[in-house]
């Protein structure tokens, strides 16, 4: 705990938190508790790195730290040399759709494809090129054509759905690189990102008959998982957040289409047929449990998610497909604030801007302003805590007791949006 913290990490954390978003890096510095949960997912990551597969629902209330947890997992996965793709679902990005929304999700995932070297996304070209580069050096050794090596390496992909076209596209990129044909390269990347909207365009540009469409999103992910392994990465880890958006869909048909996709993922994962692919899905309890709209409304899925019947009476099973995150308790929040203070001080206790007592006082202040459940939705309170620290830092010698009293804390109402459900189409009304 007393190890110094790199200024870069410190700034990343502080700035993200101050903006009310989850930091992209350094999450481990402010992680409080949840060792079992982290352990479980690290095990998942290791399994994926070993060529296995994993599937998890991370279920937690608004403010319980789902996104933080997913980001932490993402960072760990990157560290373990996995390629990570993450995306938030929204009404225009779904797992299954007919109007391009699923393809849109895929495109988002590919845009956000990250490697350790490129943790902020956009790592797709690099990944492809890394694959080709290794093929190239191999080709040089063997004295064969690069494309031929590429082809042979991609041989095992062709057994999968769309595998041929995928191999074709990689070859096209390779060709483009060798020939200096930038257009071809970018067309290939566009194809891989799922940005071709019609088959005709794809055929004209790359000579392939298929495109990544709504129906083939998951198949493409499986191809990509194999591909990144071929490119020398440990595997592909996909983090999908805000699954509550499926729950919010008005049409039950649309919902079950999405749940069907989740079921496929779950089945493949449990059977081990998706090589090197890890999936983490973050959602709220209602998304999981609502028997009309949630996962439980889809019987096949529900039965597979049956919890371990032995995990009753205080025993917890962290190996099941559903990982439950509890909401923050008062003590969690207290330790979190201490961690933030620690990070703010750059890991040096001598630079703490506030004593422990001030943290308690701050919490009391929040409780007064927001009610006794303030720690369950910590976003706004953390922001104002950091604001407090910032003022103290810039105005040394200020009395913190006076500051706390005047601090403004906003109520975090974001959780309500999670429950807002799209009205059924036919009943929709609008007002000017």
């Amino acid at each position: 705990m007393n190890a110094p913290i790199r200024p870069k990490d410190r700034d990343a954390i502080i700035q993200s938190l101050r903006a009310g978003v989850v930091p992209r890096r350094g999450q481990h510095l402010i992680q409080v508790g949840r060792s079992h949960e982290v352990e479980a997912l690290v095990a998942d990551i290791d399994r994926v790195a070993d060529g296995g597969s994993s599937f998890r629902f991370v279920i937690g209330e608004y403010g319980a730290g789902k996104t933080f947890f997913l980001n932490l997992i993402r960072t760990i996965a990157l560290e373990r040399k996995l390629v990570v793709a993450n995306a938030d679902l929204n009404p225009d990005r779904r797992l299954h759709a007919s109007g391009g929304q699923a393809r849109s999700l895929y495109a988002e995932l590919m845009r956000n494809l990250a490697t350790r070297a490129k943790p902020d996304g956009g790592a797709l070209p690099g990944t492809v090129e890394k694959f080709i580069a290794t093929a190239k050096s191999e080709a040089e050794k063997q004295g064969a054509a690069t494309e031929q090596i590429v082809r042979s390496r991609l041989e095992q992909l062709t057994e999968l759905v769309h595998g041929y076209d995928f191999a074709d596209v990689i070859s096209a990129y390779c060709r483009g690189a060798e020939e200096g044909n930038e257009q071809l390269k970018s067309d290939a990347i566009r194809w891989l990102r799922g940005e071709f909207a019609t088959r005709t365009d794809a055929r004209a540009a790359l000579g392939v008959r298929t495109i990544v469409d709504d129906a083939s999103v998951y198949d493409q992910l499986k191809l990509m998982a194999r591909f990144v392994r071929l490119a020398g990465y440990a595997g592909l880890f996909v983090c999908l957040d805000e699954l509550v958006n499926i729950y919010k869909l008005a049409s039950s048909q649309a919902r079950s289409g999405n749940y069907e996709q989740i079921l496929r993922m779950l089945n493949d994962s449990l059977q081990g047929t998706s090589v090197g692919l890890g999936l983490v899905l973050g959602g709220t309890p209602e998304f999981l449990m609502d028997t009309r709209r949630g996962v439980y409304s889809y019987a096949a899925l529900q039965s597979r998610l049956a919890e371990n019947t032995f995990a009753a009476g205080g025993l917890v099973d962290y190996s099941g497909p559903v990982l439950k995150l509890s909401s923050l308790a008062l003590e969690d929040f207290y330790l979190l604030l201490r961690k933030i203070r620690h990070v703010y001080a750059g890991g040096d206790p001598d630079h703490y801007l506030l004593p422990d007592e001030a943290i308690t006082r701050f919490m009391e202040h929040c409780a007064k302003r927001l009610g006794d459940q303030f720690y369950r939705t910590p976003r706004t309170t953390i922001t104002s805590f950091i604001n407090l620290l910032a003022i103290l830092e810039q105005n040394p010698g200020t009395d913190w007791t006076a500051l706390i009293g005047g601090l403004d804390v906003e109520r975090d109402e974001g959780g309500k949006g999670d429950l807002a459900v799209e009205p059924e189409d036919e009943l929709a009304s609008f007002r000017l």
Binding site: A117, P285, Y296, L335
Partner: protein, 804 residues
């Protein structure tokens, strides 16, 4: 001529001589006289009638024969006995009108036939010498008087029988006295002090008819009954004092008295009293000590406590012995100043059993009455005018007369009142329909103490079973086990049954007394041990809430198809955890749960009960439900659905189900008790410590992953003293990449286009090359060499590390 004169006199007296003659045809004496005297008209027919009578006389002895053959058991006057109907036999002297005369004899036994009892008022010259002395016809011996056959005896017949008052004993049936042809015993004719001798012929006829008919007609005027009673009284009091053999008739007399009491006791309080007194006299004769230990004979209730009881009670007081329940009961029944109400008299047996039980409940072995100073003395006041004035009494030494006390009878009366109250419902029902008396429907209205022994045994057996643990059975089985196989109990009956069981320390679920639905015969019920002082459990709001929670819980538990052991266990645990419940309430709740397991209610049925709950209670019920759903380790969709329904029924936002289930699933304890803001923040030090430990664990794990601490403070310490060979700027890179990396490090920033060209020159693809270089940098230095897309920033500081 004297005879003729007498006859003439009779003829004068009787307005219709012939009709009288026909009626009294059996009185041969008269006939004979008539025949001899006057040879009247129609003598033939009279002779014929007489002959016919003679024939009949062969089977039934005539009065004269009887008189002659009787062995004198009492002092007899030395009348000459005559054989056969003698013409010389004179009619008995007419009743003397010696009204002014009284006998002041103090000693009642100094009886004796007084020959002086002739009628001086008549001008007849001489009293008949031979008037047949009155004699007692023992029970069962037929006798004939006038033309009436008296089948059963128990009367005095004869011509003369003196009473202690000096007059003719009123009970004596003097066959010589004329008897009218007709008489109706239904009409009141006799005077207040009836006497056979004083009666009119019509009344005599009526009396004889009543006797001949077996003394049974309930419409008979009480005067005739008294007339008969005088005979019994005389036999009992007078004869027995002189002749011990007369006591042999006592059992028959007692029987007869009781029989008469049964018929006429209700009709006449006076008769009841006298008969009772006489019974007491008989019972008291030779009364042993400690009468109270013997069974109490039956006495009619009069305005006085029967002397027998007084003696028994007095003896008990004397001995300081507790009064047995039977004696106490008799006292209550006989006490003149306490009157049992209908319930107690209608249901005698039940009252007796109940009284006995309550008596012992209240008084242990029995009531001990203090010995008071009034001494008991039994003064027999005779009914018969013949015995009037004589002092007939028995003293009992220093046995006190308990009737002087009021406290004991008040105590007993209080018990009796209580018992009567408890019998009231039963009595009313039996009164409406006596055929129900033995049915369970009726019996449940009785306190168990008033049950017949075998039924009581059944109840006790049930009670014993329940002591060993609660039992579940159907209503029908319960009824059968209590000995009823007939109609199922009505709603009211079941309620009474529950009350009855409660009194027997058996609680019943459903709590029908608390307003629960009355179970059908096929419905299950649960019986459990419930102490008497715990009755009425189940009224409190706390209990109601708890019960409701259980009901909802069981409905919920069944939502996934089966009521699992864990769920039952959870609910059991809840019962024990609930605060503010008494142990009795817990016991009932456990039984309630058993019942619910057998047949959980539907949510719809519960909805109404939820309405009066406060919000806080609703919340706690909801919380309990969620925990319950979680208790078997998995909240199935059915359970979630059901929870939503429960929430809706409770008026709580159904959407909260998920959050609450989730919270329960992640450990309900995590919601630490947050006090109101004013109270300040209370941090749980233990939890913080545990959390810190957990955090330390996760930090250790993460730092392993992120290999945070490489060198200290970025000090250029040669972590990897690499073979500083030219080609491998970074380990793991091939030559073109190394060259490209070196090129990168020459400038802090590159435009993408420039690098693309450079990469192409080296035969590399830019993105792939950067990726590989950065990866290698991460592996070695834990930091990327370059960042950004366009322009691309290079961390030239790393060069120092590389070079180092």
């Amino acid at each position: 001529m004297i005879v003729a004169g007498v006859i003439f006199l009779i003829a004068l007296l009787s307005s219709d001589f012939w009709s009288m003659f026909v009626i009294l045809g059996g009185v041969e004496l008269v006939v004979y006289v008539l025949l001899r005297m006057s040879r009247v008209r129609q003598g033939q027919s009279v002779q014929r009638a007489l002959r016919a009578m003679d024939r009949r006389d062969q089977s039934e002895p005539t009065l004269a024969e009887l008189t002659e053959s009787t062995s004198g058991v009492r002092p007899r006057t030395s009348f000459g006995s005559t054989h056969v109907p003698v013409p010389a036999a004179v009619p008995a002297p007419l009743p003397a009108a010696s009204r002014g005369r009284t006998v002041g004899t103090d000693e009642f036994y100094s009886t004796g036939a007084s020959p002086k009892s002739t009628a001086p008022g008549y001008a007849l010259p001489k009293a008949p010498k031979e008037a047949a002395p009155g004699r007692w016809v023992p029970p069962g011996e037929p006798v004939r008087v006038a033309d009436v056959a008296l089948p059963d005896g128990m009367v005095y017949v004869g011509a003369r029988l003196d009473a202690p008052n000096g007059r003719t004993s009123p009970c004596l049936i003097n066959g010589l006295l004329p008897v009218a042809g007709a008489g109706d015993y239904r009409t009141r004719q006799l005077g207040y002090w009836p006497s056979y001798a004083d009666a009119s012929p019509g009344e005599r006829r009526a009396y004889l008819t009543w006797l001949a008919e077996g003394r049974t007609n309930p419409d008979c005027d009480i005067g005739y009954v008294f007339l008969f009673f005088y005979g019994l009284e005389r036999r009992t009091i007078l004869d027995s004092s002189e002749n011990a053999a007369a006591k042999e008739d006592w059992p028959a007399i007692v029987r007869e008295l009781r029989r008469l009491l049964a018929i006429y006791g209700e009709k006449s309080g006076s008769f009841r009293h006298y008969a009772g007194e006489l019974l007491s006299w008989i019972e008291l004769d030779g009364a042993a000590s400690a009468l109270y230990k013997k069974p109490v004979p039956d006495f009619p209730r009069t305005y006085e406590l029967p002397p027998y009881l007084r003696l028994a009670l007095g003896q008990a007081a004397n001995d300081r012995a507790p009064i047995p329940a039977s004696l106490g009961l008799a006292w209550v029944r006989m006490a003149p100043d306490y009157r049992l109400r209908t319930a107690a008299t209608r249901c005698t047996m039940e009252f007796e059993r109940l009284f006995t039980a309550r008596y012992h409940d209240d008084l242990g072995a029995g009531l001990v009455i203090p010995k008071n100073r009034t001494k008991l003395k039994f003064v027999y006041r005779a009914a018969s005018a013949g015995l009037a004035g004589t002092n007939i009494s028995i003293g009992f030494g220093d046995v006190p007369d308990v009737t002087a006390l009021t406290r004991p009878i008040k105590t007993l009366a209080a018990i009796a009142d209580r018992c009567t109250d408890q019998l009231a419902a039963y009595s009313r029902l039996v009164g409406r329909d006596p055929s129900l008396a033995d049915s369970l429907e009726c019996r449940v209205l009785l306190p168990a103490a008033a049950w017949v022994a075998e039924d009581k045994a059944r109840l006790d057996a049930l009670s014993t079973r329940v002591r060993t643990g609660s039992i579940t059975l159907t209503m029908k089985e319960l009824e059968t086990s209590l000995g009823d196989t007939g109609q199922p109990l009505t709603r009211k009956g079941i309620r009474s049954l529950a009350q009855l069981l409660e009194a027997a320390e058996i609680g019943m679920e459903p709590n029908v007394l608390g307003g629960a639905r009355i179970p059908q015969p096929e419905d299950s019920i649960v019986l459990f041990e419930q102490l008497a002082q715990d009755a009425n459990v189940g009224e409190g709001a706390e209990y109601q809430t708890a019960a409701l929670t259980l009901q909802m819980g069981s409905a919920l538990a069944l939502a996934d198809g089966k009521f699992g052991e864990q769920e039952i266990g959870f609910l059991r645990g809840r019962i024990d955890e609930w605060e503010r419940l008494t142990s009795a309430e817990r016991r009932r709740l456990h039984a309630h749960l058993r019942l619910l397991v057998a047949g959980p209610p539907t949510l719809a049925a519960l909805k109404k009960k939820l309405e009066p709950l406060t919000t806080a209670v609703r919340e706690s019920v909801a919380a309990c439900m969620v925990t319950l759903a979680q208790s078997d380790g998995f909240v199935s969709p059915d359970e979630v659905k059901f929870l939503e329904k429960i929430y809706k029924a409770l008026g709580i936002e159904p959407d909260r189900v998920f959050s609450d289930v989730h919270a329960a699933g992640t450990g309900a304890s995590r919601t630490s008790p947050a006090k109101s803001p004013a109270a300040g923040i209370q941090l749980d030090a233990d939890r913080i410590a545990a959390l810190q430990q957990d955090t330390a664990r996760v930090s250790a794990m993460l730092s392993e992953i992120f290999t945070e601490e490489v060198p200290d403070q970025g000090a250029p310490e040669p972590v990897e003293p690499e073979p500083h060979g030219q080609p491998s700027l970074l380990p793991g890179l091939d030559e073109p990449h190394c060259a490209f990396a070196r090129l990168l490090l020459t400038r802090p920033q590159w435009a993408r286009a420039e690098l693309e060209d450079a990469a192409a020159d080296l035969g590399l693809m830019l993105d792939g090359a950067l990726e590989q270089i950065n990866e290698a940098a991460f592996d070695t230095l834990d930091a990327p060499l370059c960042e950004g897309d366009d322009p691309i920033d290079v961390d030239t500081e790393l060069l120092e590390k590389i070079e180092a």
